[in-house]
Symmetry: D2
Subunit: 139 residues, 4 copies
Amino acid sequence: MASQQSIITLRVRGYHLDGYGHVNNARYLEFLEEGRWAYFDEHAELAGILHGGSVAFVAVNLNIDYRRAAVAGEDLRVITALADVGTRSARMHQEVRRVRDDKLVSSADLTFVLLDTRHDKAVPIEGELRDVMERLVVE
Amino acid sequence: MASQQSIITLRVRGYHLDGYGHVNNARYLEFLEEGRWAYFDEHAELAGILHGGSVAFVAVNLNIDYRRAAVAGEDLRVITALADVGTRSARMHQEVRRVRDDKLVSSADLTFVLLDTRHDKAVPIEGELRDVMERLVVE
Amino acid sequence: MASQQSIITLRVRGYHLDGYGHVNNARYLEFLEEGRWAYFDEHAELAGILHGGSVAFVAVNLNIDYRRAAVAGEDLRVITALADVGTRSARMHQEVRRVRDDKLVSSADLTFVLLDTRHDKAVPIEGELRDVMERLVVE
Amino acid sequence: MASQQSIITLRVRGYHLDGYGHVNNARYLEFLEEGRWAYFDEHAELAGILHGGSVAFVAVNLNIDYRRAAVAGEDLRVITALADVGTRSARMHQEVRRVRDDKLVSSADLTFVLLDTRHDKAVPIEGELRDVMERLVVE
């Protein structure tokens, strides 16, 4: 059985940095996106909904705290879990932590909808989809 | 006299997109960063504080709404203004709008501190700095 | 009449840099891509071929010299022109120059094909297409 | 003993793509940069020269062939090796291959210098440095 959360690690490289020598704000969103794709890779029951092709994962809000700067050569862990399921949207909670001491570098809440791309509106989260998603929620 | 807000425009290009053919979430943060740099370019009184070299502009929170997808070839306007000044942090409000119809594509609030890099702590926003910043606030 | 070359300018920002405080190697390719899109925007006779939808601009080789480092705040000019037209591929020459003294920062040759996406093979550059492209070549 | 070449793998994600649904040209340079950092991580004898702080790895030319498009979900292998050592510059050869069938996606030659950042000139590749580098060359 798949864990309710997915964890990836990555190493900070030169091209992630900004002029202060710290990971640039925008790059964290790429780290978070990596984390979410890994989550979908590990939760085939959810990924199946997206890979049908007529449903898209669409972010509607991201709220991110930047807590600590990360520098070149540091290993970071990105932890991704489903935090809340509403009737039309749901929320993922993601954390970026330094591997060596587990200190929080950044944390984010991403609210998303599953968009029916043919009709351009959010798929209601009900029935079997709701069951699948609720089982994945980490309090 | 400089306006209280800065406006830049940019055209969406192929490398900004994701697999759905829409501007990727992370790219908006680069658009917003462009907007903030333009803001500093146009507000020398603020930029002077940063260019001394011992004070860094550091984001502590970003809250961004994704409202509409943007596609290749569209022209976007990024509007940046100071929205609020606290005692140790301040907040910028930024909007990304489609040029052709002014519809809102994305809006964001960025909370930042001015970090004294030698002592690694936030510069208190008081005295002359406070005066400069308060004059720039757009309600 | 459109000029045979296109020129755009851009300002180096924090998110373009690497750990040395210089524009990262990969970012130059985004600058060059901006230059090529501007070129197509300004040469409707060429862009029309691409916007039909069944022909894609596909890079097959890029040869880029990195001559000088560029730093935050510098204005760069990207110059794009068609340099050579073969029977199945063509070559663009692009230069990135510092605005203040016109010094060469980077120069690149990009060889591309026009790919017939339905049959997955390069469109022969002949007939009217050849005429259009040859008129644009800068020796 | 470290191998003469370094290999990393990565999975193509949505944010790597362009408007055609293929990995964007510029992203390959980030993949190649990942490969080079892994190479330095695995070859401490070379990395030591750079981490002293007064010597920087500076690309002077990149020649890259784009052979096949890569799409979302594909696993790619990046292979990095030293190909040639001159008196003032050296060359790395890098390949990006699809994991499932080992087909070549992209190949690149990167010519670089080791820059003495204090005097802004290339370090001569001689003595112990030459010995270290020559032992790493893959014909």
